[in-house]
């Protein structure tokens, strides 16, 4: 049985066009075609949303942002691992050259590994040089540099080992604490939501 076009003029035109171009099989019901096209959406530019719709959209976006940053919660040992790596590079200053080179290699490989580990643990990556994280990154670099400086200055003194161990521990603790604090800041909810009327 041949299906005759029924319905609105626009639907009939679409149906005729689809039939002419062999876009639908012969006898394809027009109501099915109309329903399919309705589901596909439209290229028509939507009108601007109302103020209330705009507020709802902003709140929805803020909520989505909060949900994804809540994933930025690596376990505490992740930051402890970062701290140990930075402590190793500070301690390397007083170690014999062979062991010192090995420590530097461990540090470099460790930095690459912890980057991948963070993504593996959380499913997201965050720019450490982004505006919110920049003070923490600069502080971390400064702490590591200070640790290296203190260790290298103490290398020629009688208690160099003790100073290097203390400097490494201080670097490790500072990096761990700073990392946990950075994580809390990153995962904090945005203050931009507001109620709808």
């Amino acid at each position: 049985m041949r299906c005759r076009p029924r319905g609105h003029a626009a639907e009939q035109e679409t149906y005729k066009l689809a039939m002419t171009r062999n876009l639908v099989p012969k006898g394809f019901p027009m109501w099915k075609l109309a329903a399919s096209i309705a589901c596909m959406g439209t290229n028509k530019q939507p009108d601007d949303p109302s103020a209330n719709e705009a507020r709802t959209a902003i709140n929805s976006a803020s909520e989505a942002r909060d949900r994804v940053v809540a994933h930025a919660r690596a376990p505490w040992w992740y930051f402890a691992l970062c701290g140990v790596l930075c402590g190793v590079i500070a301690a390397a200053q007083i170690l014999p050259p062979d062991i010192s080179y090995f420590a530097i290699i461990v540090f470099c490989l460790g930095v690459v590994a912890v980057g991948g580990l963070y993504k593996s643990l959380t499913g997201i990556t965050i720019k450490i040089f982004a505006r919110s994280g920049l003070p923490y990154t600069i502080s971390a670099i400064a702490v590591v540099y200070l640790g290296i400086f203190v260790s290298s200055m103490a290398a020629h003194s009688w208690n160099s080992v003790l100073v290097a161990i203390l400097a490494s521990l201080a670097v490790a603790v500072a990096i761990t604490a700073g990392g946990l604090r950075w994580q809390r800041q990153v995962a904090s909810p945005s203050p931009t939501t507001f109620g709808t009327t």
Binding site: A51, S60, V68, G123
Partner: protein, 96 residues
């Protein structure tokens, strides 16, 4: 009705708006995280990512960490600009 400057109908779709908001907050997110947080099916998320990729707002790449393969989605520079402008337009409409 005149469209507010910066208003982007491609981003304004509810799922795409939330997707862009998520990607704007991070450098990249895996497909799995986005799917879980948006609470949509794989096919739906793929469709919306494709729509954003066609206009150059997102970039999709595959990476492997510890023998696990991840599909990473990140907002491009133009995507970030468009999202910021869109949120600005929404704020203007909301009268903030």
């Amino acid at each position: 009705m005149k469209t507010v400057e910066g208003f982007d109908p491609i981003i304004h779709s509810p799922i795409r708006l939330r997707l862009c908001a998520m990607l704007f907050a991070v450098e990249s997110a895996t497909f799995t995280v986005l799917r879980e947080e948006l609470e949509v099916a794989d096919s739906v998320l793929s469709k919306h990512i494709s729509a954003l990729r066609v206009v150059g707002f997102v970039q999709v790449s595959k990476s492997s960490v510890n023998s696990r393969t991840f599909t990473d989605i990140r907002l491009t520079k133009s995507g970030r600009t468009a999202y910021s402008a869109h949120i600005g337009a929404l704020r203007a409409i909301a009268g903030e």
